[in-house]
Amino acid sequence: MICAAVAGVFCERCGSPQAEGDHGACGVVRVWEPPRYCAQCGRRLVVQVLPVGWTARCPQHGEVA
C-alpha cells in the first residue's frame, strides 16, 4: 500500500503532489493509516476502517486497493 502511495501522482496521506516536497514522513506514518487521498487525482477518499482491513473509494476513480 505504501508502494502505491509512492508510485502515485499524489501522496495518499497528505494529498499534495508527490513531486512537491518531501513525503518521507508521510510514508513512515502511513504504516498506521489507511490512504486518505486518491493517488491518481488527489481527491479525498471515503474511507471505512474495519477491525481487520479497510475500504476506500474515490468519487472519480472508484475503489482503492
Binding site: W32, E33, Q48, V49, L50, P51, V52
Partner: protein
C-alpha cells in the same frame, strides 16, 4: 520516592487505590525505579484482576462529520481533516463483529462520531445489536456520545453489555480539549449508564498537553467513578486537528502513567487502545502488559490502523497471559 513505592506496594494486599498526591509522585519516579513501579503495578493487576487479558475490537458505524470540537479528533466536522463521512450498514457491522470474534475477543464496540445519537443512528444500532446477538458469540458495547435517559434504557434493554463514554482528560483540563460540551455532561451520561445496569467504560487520552498534576487528577477522578473498564489512549496527533503538532508521548512517560492508573484503579480493566503503536511500540506494549495493563484493543481503530491481531495474540501467548473469557470477566465483577 521509596516512601511512595512502599505505599504502592500496600495496594497489592489491600486493593485500595492511592491518593491523588501519591499518584502524582509516581509520575516522577526515576528511570532506576521504573522497573520496580511496573512490577508493583503488575502484581496489583494479578492480585485483583487475575492473569487474563480482555481483548476487544471496535468499529465506527458513523465516521466523520461530528459537530463537536474535540481537539484530538480527526472526525470533527469543524477541522480541516482529511477524514470524510462514512456510514456502515448492518451486514457490514455483523461482519466486523465476526472478524473481531475470530480473534478471540470477547467484546465488540460499535462507535459513532456524534454528540449523541439521533433516531437514525439509534435505528441502525438497534438493528445491528439484534443481528449481532443472533449470530455472533460476543459481548456488545456501544459508544454513541451523550445519551438521554430513554436511550440509556433502550440500549440496556437491547442487551448492550458495556457503554463507553470517555471523560478524555482531567476536569481542569477538559475546556482546553473540548468547548462544545462539558466534562459534567459526560459525567451525567456515565451515571445514567451505571444506573441502567450496563458496565461503564471510561478512560481518555494521554499526551494532549495536560500537566502531570492533571494526569494524576484525571486518574483520581476516574477512581471516583470506578468504571469497569478504563481505555488508555495515547495521543496520535492527527492532521488538521488543533493537536496536530503535539509530540508523541515518550514511552517511559507512558509506562509511568499506565502504572499510575493501575495504582489508582486496582480492580478495573485497564485497556491499551489508540496510539499505543506509536507511543509504546512493540517493546513498550510488552512492558505495559507487565506493568499494570490487562486489556487490549486488537486490530484497527476508528480511523487509524493497529497491529495485526495475530501479533498481539502471539505476544499474549509469549507472555503467558491468557485471553480473559466473558465468563471470567463476569465472575471477576461479581467477586
Amino acid at each position: 520516592m521509596d516512601d511512595v513505592l512502599a505505599r504502592a506496594e500496600r495496594v497489592v494486599d489491600e486493593g485500595i487505590g492511592l491518593t491523588e498526591s501519591d499518584l502524582r509522585a509516581l509520575l516522577e519516579v526515576g528511570d532506576d525505579d521504573l522497573p520496580a513501579l511496573l512490577d508493583i503495578a503488575h502484581r496489583v493487576r494479578l492480585r485483583w484482576c487475575g492473569p487474563g487479558v480482555e481483548v476487544e475490537g471496535i468499529v465506527s458505524v458513523k465516521t466523520g462529520g461530528c459537530p463537536e470540537d474535540c481537539h484530538f479528533c480527526s472526525q470533527s466536522g469543524r477541522f480541516d481533516s482529511p477524514v470524510r463521512s462514512a456510514w456502515l450498514d448492518v451486514p457490514a457491522l455483523v461482519a466486523a463483529a465476526e472478524q473481531t470474534a475470530a480473534t478471540g475477543a470477547t467484546e465488540f464496540c460499535i462507535v459513532a462520531a456524534v454528540r449523541g445519537p439521533d433516531e437514525k443512528l439509534m435505528r441502525q444500532v438497534r438493528a445491528a445489536v439484534r443481528a449481532i446477538r443472533e449470530t455472533v458469540d460476543i459481548n456488545i458495547a456501544c459508544s454513541l456520545g451523550i445519551l438521554h435517559p430513554d436511550q440509556v434504557a433502550e440500549l440496556a434493554e437491547l442487551g448492550v453489555h458495556r457503554y463507553n463514554h470517555n471523560l478524555e482528560t482531567a476536569r481542569s483540563y477538559f475546556p482546553r480539549v473540548v468547548t462544545t460540551h462539558t466534562w459534567e455532561e459526560r459525567w451525567e451520561t456515565l451515571q445514567l449508564v451505571r444506573s441502567a445496569g450496563m458496565e461503564v467504560c471510561c478512560g481518555g487520552i494521554l499526551g494532549m498537553g495536560e500537566s502531570l498534576d492533571q494526569r494524576a487528577e484525571f486518574a483520581a477522578q476516574l477512581a471516583e467513578l470506578a468504571p469497569d473498564e478504563v481505555p488508555l489512549n495515547f495521543l496520535n496527533p492527527r492532521p488538521g486537528t488543533p493537536f496536530a503538532t503535539l509530540p508523541v508521548m515518550p514511552v517511559g512517560e507512558a509506562l509511568r502513567a499506565a502504572a499510575m492508573f493501575r495504582l489508582a484503579l486496582p480492580r478495573t480493566i485497564l485497556r491499551f487502545a489508540g496510539g499505543r503503536e506509536l507511543t509504546l511500540g512493540d517493546d513498550g506494549i510488552r512492558e505495559a502488559l507487565r506493568g499494570g495493563g490487562n486489556g487490549l484493543i486488537v486490530g484497527n481503530y476508528l480511523t487509524t490502523l493497529g497491529r495485526a491481531p495475530q501479533a498481539d495474540l502471539a505476544l499474549l501467548e509469549e507472555l503467558g497471559e491468557p485471553i480473559r473469557s466473558a465468563e471470567l470477566s463476569a465472575l471477576s465483577k461479581a467477586l
